[in-house]
């Protein structure tokens, strides 16, 4: 265990490291976490949490390998090098989805979504007006179409905050957020829902009543106006001073760079 508790803020942090540290703070001892494909930020965040404040965070790498010991973050978050040296392989059809559906385990889920709207609905299906004749065919909903509906707390991460990815209304809902806002999600019989959106500019959460996305903290050096400009819908004007997202510590930065991801795989998600 590193001396993470007494470590001062880093001076040379980068945005990927800040996002990883912020996401790591969402996961605690006793939680279980799993990751899907191309999930360098979540994987690094789980790993960082396990090395610092949450040593008993259970990690199901690639939704397959329990408590793995990979050498470092590999080029794929959905291949065997990530779940090297696991204590159990969880089978997809019979085991993984039973565990995920149950409700007691894997209560938090990290979502990457091509489009995300003001009520936290995600879209990885199509861009365009006609589902069967799309302008752009996206990869598809995969597990998100499940995770959005089965009571999970959803943590969106978005390394490229821009008006194309944060939109007023998604072209197509393939991951259920708060639907049309207000009580619509609860009225549909759904529990859980979007919790946070962590981008390269800020952290956002959802108003407890309207369920509209709102800025919770600005990353160091970012203004509300910059966030608004990069967002495809109108953000509620903050009441009073917005807090600043915590800067990762020297030790967190060291762990990410030296232990977790020495090959900088996490940076692949940025600048797209």
């Amino acid at each position: 265990m590193s001396d993470w508790q007494n470590s001062p803020p880093a001076e040379d942090w980068t945005i990927d490291e800040l996002m990883i540290a912020r996401l790591a703070a969402c996961f605690a001892d006793g939680d279980q976490a799993c990751n899907g494909m191309a999930s360098f930020v979540p994987v690094s965040a789980f790993w960082l949490a396990r090395l610092t404040h949450a040593p008993d965070l259970v990690w199901l790498a690639g939704a397959v390998g329990l408590e793995p010991r990979p050498d470092r973050v590999p080029a794929s978050t959905l291949e065997a090098p990530l779940w090297r040296d696991s204590i159990m392989y969880v089978e997809q059809y019979g085991d993984f989805w039973t565990i995920a559906l149950n409700g007691r385990w894997l209560t938090k889920f990290c979502v990457g979504s091509a489009q995300l709207d003001r009520y936290g609905n995600g879209n990885n299906s199509i861009i365009g007006a006609d589902y069967h004749a799309p302008r752009v065919r996206l990869p598809g909903t995969a597990g998100l179409g499940d995770m959005g509906s089965i009571g999970k707390a959803l943590y969106y991460w978005n390394p490229n905050h821009n008006p194309r990815s944060l939109v007023e209304q998604v072209d197509f809902i393939s991951c259920a957020g708060y639907l049309g806002g207000g009580t619509e999600r609860a009225d549909a019989g759904l529990e859980g829902g979007p919790e946070l959106v962590i981008t390269n500019l800020c952290v956002m959460d959802f108003h407890p009543e309207t369920r509209h996305m709102q800025v919770a903290s600005l990353h160091p050096g970012v203004t509300f106006e910059q966030v608004q400009e990069a967002t495809g819908f109108e953000l509620p004007t903050p009441e009073g001073q917005l807090s600043t997202t915590a800067i990762p510590t020297v030790e967190q930065v060291r762990l990410i760079r030296e232990v977790i991801d020495p090959d900088d795989m996490r940076r692949r998600e940025f600048g797209g």
Partner: protein, 296 residues
């Protein structure tokens, strides 16, 4: 004793007919039955439907060959290598119709098909638009007064294509210790015909030494074919990793029609058989590189 199932790649692929709905084992860059996919393309199969959990390069190659006109699945992506461009282009052009399901909904459709049930329910997808665009999904009240579910209509693929580590000549299929490829739990049980390629044909005694690692019984399998490196360029652990260079070569070609034609000729339609494919990709030197995945 059991019935003989050992055959050739050509004869096995001939069990797939034009128009069939074909379930293909795959997960982004993992464990796809590529030798069979290449043989289907070589044999000029047309109007196939593909069922996949997460389809990668096999879907893109089938799309490039014009072999498929529909897809039922949860996603199509080569993960770090990006979207499948030929598939995407064909969908956007209206040449491939997509039935997009969440993973539990796909599992439910296949699970119902396997168990001869008209449907199975899921609580996934509720609230999404995916239910509205799909006649095979319908909201259903709980007869006990609990929450509503999404009824997912049974799906029985005509054929399932599987790649595995080993089999005996009677079609009993074994795996080597690794994470089980994710489609094995249901696809081969749901399909009417099951075709399996394996890294190695072994004596039945090899399977009897480890019966808890036999994953499909011979009676479920219609044809078994020896095809070492049969999943290349996808990974097949613990034997080999995915081939990064070949995926990069494909995505470098996939946006250009002429480059695609050249790639397909060089690697898929040109080589006469699986052995010729392995030579075309670089033979033992290239294969040794993917075998060295643990060191990478």
């Amino acid at each position: 004793m059991s019935a003989e199932k050992l055959t050739t790649l050509e004869d096995a692929a001939a069990l797939v007919r034009d128009g069939d709905t074909v379930a293909i084992q795959n997960m982004a860059t993992q464990a796809a039955p590529m030798a069979l996919v290449r043989e289907l393309i070589r044999q000029g199969r047309r109007e196939l439907g593909v069922v996949c959990l997460v389809g990668g390069i096999p879907v893109d190659w089938l799309a490039a060959a014009g072999a498929i006109n529909r897809l039922i699945g949860a996603a199509v992506s080569m993960e770090q290598f990006g979207l499948c461009q030929r598939y995407r282009k064909a969908v956007e052009a209206g040449a491939i119709r997509v039935e997009e399901l969440s993973e539990t909904a796909l599992n439910a459709r296949l699970g119902a098909g396997a168990r001869n049930l008209p449907f199975l329910p899921t609580r996934g997808l509720i609230g999404t638009d995916l239910i509205d665009v799909n006649d095979n999904l319908v909201m259903l009240d709980d007869p006990f007064g609990g929450p509503s579910v999404v009824a997912c209509k049974a799906l029985v693929p005509d054929v399932a294509l599987v790649h595995a580590h080993k089999a005996d000549r009677f079609g009993n299929i074994g795996y080597e210790p690794t994470a089980l490829w994710p489609d094995l739990g249901i696809m081969p049980k749901a399909a009417t015909t099951v075709i399996v390629t394996v890294e190695e044909i072994v004596d039945s005694e090899v399977l009897r030494a480890d019966p808890d690692r036999t994953v499909l019984p011979g009676f479920m399998v219609d044809a078994v074919v020896e095809a070492p490196f049969g999943a290349h360029p996808t990974s097949f652990y613990p034997r080999y990793g995915y081939d990064t260079a070949m995926h990069l070569e494909w995505i470098g070609s996939a946006r250009d029609d002429e480059a695609v034609a050249g790639f397909m000729e060089k690697y898929v339609t040109g080589p006469a058989d699986h052995a010729a494919y392995l030579e075309a990709v670089g033979g033992s030197e290239r294969l040794a590189a993917v075998e060295a995945w643990e060191a990478s």
